[in-house]
Symmetry: C2
Subunit: 352 residues, 2 copies
């Protein structure tokens, strides 16, 4: 299993391609469904034996689907700590799932665009991620997979509430759509807080780099729907997409504004970032993301020559602590990681 | 007069040459004497007419001396604000002298190594500055000039106290020796506070970039004797020089220590400074001095190729706010100065 993870280290997920609509702002789009099996208690109330039964039921079902028949499977209990952290950084599992003790597993396709966590908060957490602003495509795929799985699995479903989930915020459709966005101009002009507070009553949640409860770094945000009950999936999507379009428009207009009115301040920020990325010998992950954000901003404003979006997106993954250690093939302390990160970045960005 | 100052802008003082003993640590050495004329009240108690009389007496005396017969003279009352600030940045006059209202003047040699402020706190403040660790040479010169002047002027002198001065801290010899030093390693290792507190009981005063009451920036310090009474000038010098040698030794040993034990952290600091100086579009004077200090440190540790010490020393002068404005030939706001400073630095350091 460790071998499989080692191989994943050198290959990147397809959703990091930097392609798709508005991919200078929307890095990726994700649809995820929460599902539970009929006749089994939710994960936090079920026994280990019940969870093992759930695991094998899901695995058997998955084998019969077009989407997952060739998927990789990880029995998380037998994955070591560094590799679990690696899967978190890959955005394939949640931190809670990595730290859990119960029988649980991950199914993931080789392109890493489709994944299923089994026995996380719900029996199944099915996710599809695509590059760019492509929520409809993610929704289409996740729905297909869900339909395939539902031929082999009996889901807990109530006529009144819809899909039943461990946490009430997921009851109903069980769907969460989210986009991972880069909003440097709105952050720079400080408009972002105003925009976010406008959006919250409209049912939008804004989260940090690693999703729920995580820190905001490098001007990267996760924006998702807050409510899952009382709307159809399409209804949620139809409300969410215009709101995200609104973020995109506001970000573009803020970019235009700073390009014209604060050019020297932005240039200073952008070129300093370039200078530091070129010269630093020690780089923390957080500082790196801040600098990468500035560099990306400079490219988006045509102050620097274009760099392939894939390089940026992959670097955000590769520079994470577990990835640095997997690449080096050993456990490292923070300073060792920060030194290797600085070297890696210089090489990948071809800054010399 | 403004013409003369305009010419000074493009020519630098000889004491910035970066030559002399230990000039990687001791940038310059200064000896200054406080003198007052017999039969005149101290400046803060004298009338405008008395001060004018003092002024002409000193100017007549100066014309007869070898040292000052070709000196430039500035009637400070008729020097505009920017030019007065320029003379402060040149270290030829004090801030108080620049801001004063009374009849006062500055005599200065073309190489800017010898200057006399007339009607500052004392009737005469005679200073000599030389490059490197050269207090004896500065003392020799200032004593010669003082002897020449004393043939034409009657100094206020008491057999019991020595030379009488407006402030008791100068009574006695009226001498202050000071060195302008760069101590990046002691600052980096945080040993500096310990070293300073050791030195204070020995009669050493440590001041910031612009001397008394000024901020410490860029790891540059002014170290001087605190006491002037009860010792001969030579006695003060004989005590002070070993103490400064002790600073130099401690700084060298700290440099050795960090070069061996904290190489990557220092390299990171040094190369980041290089990266920022190469790329920044906006640079405040304080940030510039911090970065220059790091660059200089990197050169002293052989991490970067040598740069002529004169370039460093001159840049510290040329990048000051009034110098930026004099060079540009007009009054500028802070952002305008910061932009020009960044451009100037890139050009002078040949960083591209």
């Amino acid at each position: 299993m460790s071998d499989v993870i080692d191989k994943m280290t050198s290959k990147m997920a397809d959703w990091l391609s930097g392609e798709g609509r508005d991919s200078d702002i929307v890095i990726s789009s994700r649809a995820r469904l929460a599902r539970n099996l009929l006749n089994f208690p939710f994960v936090d109330r079920s026994t280990e034996d019940q969870q093992k039964t759930i695991l094998s039921a899901v695995l058997s079902a998955a084998e019969n689907t077009e989407f997952l028949k060739n998927a990789l499977y990880f029995d998380i209990s037998s994955v070591n700590e560094l590799n679990r952290q690696f899967l978190v950084e890959r955005r394939l599992i949640s931190t809670d799932f990595a730290e859990g003790e119960n029988p649980r597993g991950l199914l993931v396709t080789a392109d890493e665009q489709i994944g299923v966590m089994i026995n996380e908060e719900d029996h199944l957490r099915i996710q599809v991620i695509h590059s760019g602003f492509s929520l409809e495509k993610a929704w289409y795929d996740v729905r297909q997979l869900d339909q395939e799985l539902s031929s082999y699995l009996d889901y807990a479903f109530s006529e009144r509430f819809g899909y039943l989930t461990a946490c009430p915020t997921n009851v109903g459709t069980g769907v969460r759509f989210s986009v991972f966005v880069h909003l440097p101009a709105l952050t720079f002009t400080k408009e972002i807080e105003g925009v976010f507070s406008e959006m919250i009553p409209a049912g939008i949640a804004v989260r940090g780099f690693y999703g729920e409860g995580s820190q905001i770094i490098g001007n990267f945000f996760q924006i998702s729907n807050q409510y899952t009950l009382g709307w159809t999936e399409q209804g949620i999507l139809d409300r969410l997409i215009p709101l995200i379009n609104c973020f995109i428009t506001k970000e573009r207009s803020a970019r235009e504004h700073v390009r014209n009115d604060q050019r020297v301040t932005i240039e200073d920020k952008v070129f300093r970032a370039q200078g530091i990325l070129t010269k630093a010998k020690v780089l923390s992950f957080i500082e790196f993301l801040d600098l990468l954000s500035a560099l990306r901003f400079g490219i988006d404003l045509d102050m620097l020559p274009k760099i392939d979006g894939r390089i940026f997106n992959e670097l955000m993954v590769l520079t994470q602590p577990a990835h640095i250690q997997k690449t080096e093939g050993k456990v490292l302390n923070e300073l060792e990681r920060d030194i290797l990160r600085a070297t890696l970045v210089r090489g990948k960005l071809n800054l010399n």
